[in-house]
């Protein structure tokens, strides 16, 4: 695309500064809300991943399992589900004793009731309720296994919370996208109508729709991009303030920021194309 179109877009932008600034202010507000939700979702995701990393599955073994059967099982589980740590009956009793703490209570127990177990640190792709439930069911089918525990209810709640946050972010994102398209659609429509005589002259000189539309599309994308950058700057300021207050608040990863600006540019393009398709038919007779 020739620089001429960019110069024309800049000319139009400067010519209708008031309209452009008003649109950018509205879009910045909407996008800042969206970016704020993205920031919350990102920080929640990071926090949940930290918690999720601690998820593990405990496989209790039968007392009759021989060391060779146990080692074979460890090899199988390691192959299928993740890193396996063996906890013997003695280690389990030691851990239990440390947790209970009161020797009087421990003396009341005649023999070591703790079974030997295998603790599986699951692979990342298995760290969700459905996968864990399936894995637990499969593991329980091994004859060496007495019982399997993985805190199903807790895992389910954690997943629900994560999914709820994602859904909220998507809903807010969709609403903000609609608002941005609406604002830009009307801004470009008003800009074209304000420049109606110019558009009519160009049309009568033989300008194609693309020739007439290109500067307006660039203008809309420029306004959207600037608004997106302002919104990110606002959210960055918010993140810095929060990090100073409560610590450990992360800004959006740069890939998210780039995707955010890319999406904003796409919205600018979409809104201007929708507006121009309609308005050029009525103006550029």
């Amino acid at each position: 695309m020739h620089w001429f179109y960019f110069r024309e877009a800049w000319r139009s932008f400067m010519h209708h500064r008031g309209l452009a600034y008003t649109a950018m202010f509205s879009i910045t507000a909407a996008l800042a809300l969206s970016a704020l939700f993205a920031l919350l979702a990102h920080n929640a995701r990071v926090a949940l991943e930290l918690v999720g990393d601690r998820r593990e599955m405990v496989v209790y073994l039968n007392d009759t399992v021989t060391p060779s059967q146990r080692d074979a099982l460890i090899g199988r589980l390691q192959q299928l589900y993740g890193n396996v740590t063996y906890v013997s009956k003695e280690q389990a009793w030691k851990e239990f004793s440390e947790q209970v703490g009161d020797p009087a209570l421990l003396e009341a127990v005649d023999a070591n009731p703790q079974p030997a177990s295998l603790r599986i640190k699951l692979r990342p792709e298995l760290l969700n309720y459905t996968a864990m439930e399936t894995a637990a069911h499969q593991v329980s089918q091994f004859p060496e296994v007495e019982d399997v525990r993985y805190g199903g209810d807790w895992v389910r709640r954690l997943d629900e919370l994560k999914n709820g946050l994602v859904r909220a972010a998507v809903m807010v994102g969709a609403l903000v996208a609609l608002a941005v398209v609406f604002v830009l659609y009307n801004t470009i429509r008003l800009t074209v109508l304000a420049r109606r005589p110019q558009v009519e002259i160009m049309s009568r000189l033989g300008a194609s729709d693309r020739f007439i539309a290109a500067p307006f599309v660039i203008e809309a994308m420029l306004e959207a991009l600037l608004a997106g950058m302002f919104a990110l700057a606002l959210v960055f300021g918010f993140q810095q303030a929060m990090a100073a207050q409560i610590g450990h608040v992360l800004f959006l990863p740069w890939t998210w920021a780039v995707m955010f600006l890319g999406a904003v540019l796409m919205l600018g393009w979409l809104a201007s194309m929708l507006a121009l398709t309609r308005v050029l038919r009525s103006v550029g007779a």
Partner: protein, 235 residues
């Protein structure tokens, strides 16, 4: 080049053109003379395909009314240079930029394509000293000469002039007519509409009289005038 076959144009109840038929060949000059409301502007709008005939057929070159898409219509208009009574210049652009716009619309953006064409057209109309002036800084005659430069810069097959001297005082009007005659002599066909019999007879070429949407009477053929008004750089 341009053919109207039984063209009728209605705007609601109002009849602008009533079964008009005429034809012009390449390089010809046709002047439509008639009072306001006779249908002259409708005729030009039909040539540029700004509007479609209510019935009948308008053919301009290879473009035929009724079968022209938006992109084809744009192509058609690039073969036509058009001049309006009210100039229709872009007020926020200089004389140079106004004329250059017509070149860029042709898809030519490089300076080596645009600048020589624009300078040549502006020199032809005597405005090479006003390149950086804005339309608001020009007299009526200079504005119309800018519009003529814009119309001829792409060397169109046909130039349409809608009452080109209507808003000008006599000396400027003479200059503009001389420029149009010169454009015609260089090969462009010319269609001029006017309410002024003096302009019609001064232009030379074929005169068709429009009256109440119809071509009235026969045709008058005027010889090309021998005296040309001198185009000056200012007024």
């Amino acid at each position: 080049m341009i053919t109207f076959e039984h063209v009728t144009k209605r705007y609601g109840e109002r009849l602008a053109l009533d079964s008009v038929s005429w034809h012009m060949d390449e390089g010809e000059c046709v002047v439509f003379l008639g009072p306001s409301g006779a249908g002259k502007t409708s005729l030009l709008r039909l040539i540029t395909h700004e509007t479609r005939p209510s019935s009948g057929t308008v053919t301009v070159g290879t473009f035929r009314s009724g079968r022209v898409s938006r992109s084809q219509r744009a192509l058609l208009r690039r073969t036509i240079g058009i001049i309006y009574e009210d100039f229709r210049l872009l007020s926020d652009r200089t004389v140079f930029e106004n004329v250059a716009l017509a070149v860029r619309i042709m898809g030519l953006f490089a300076n080596e394509d645009v600048v020589p064409r624009v300078l040549s057209a502006l020199e032809q109309v005597g405005l090479d000293g006003k390149l950086d002036a804005f339309p608001g800084e020009l007299s009526g005659g200079e504005k119309q000469r800018t519009a003529i430069a814009r119309a001829i810069v792409n060397r169109p097959a046909v130039v349409l002039a809608d009452e080109p001297t209507g808003a000008l005082e006599q000396r400027s009007a003479d200059d503009v007519l001389a420029l149009l005659q010169s454009t015609h002599r260089e090969g462009s066909a010319l269609v001029l509409v006017t309410t002024d019999p003096g302009v019609a007879h001064g232009m030379g070429g074929r005169i068709l009289t429009l009256q109440d949407g119809k071509i009235a009477g026969g045709e008058t053929h005027m010889p090309r005038p021998t005296r040309m008004a001198v185009v000056s750089g200012g007024e």
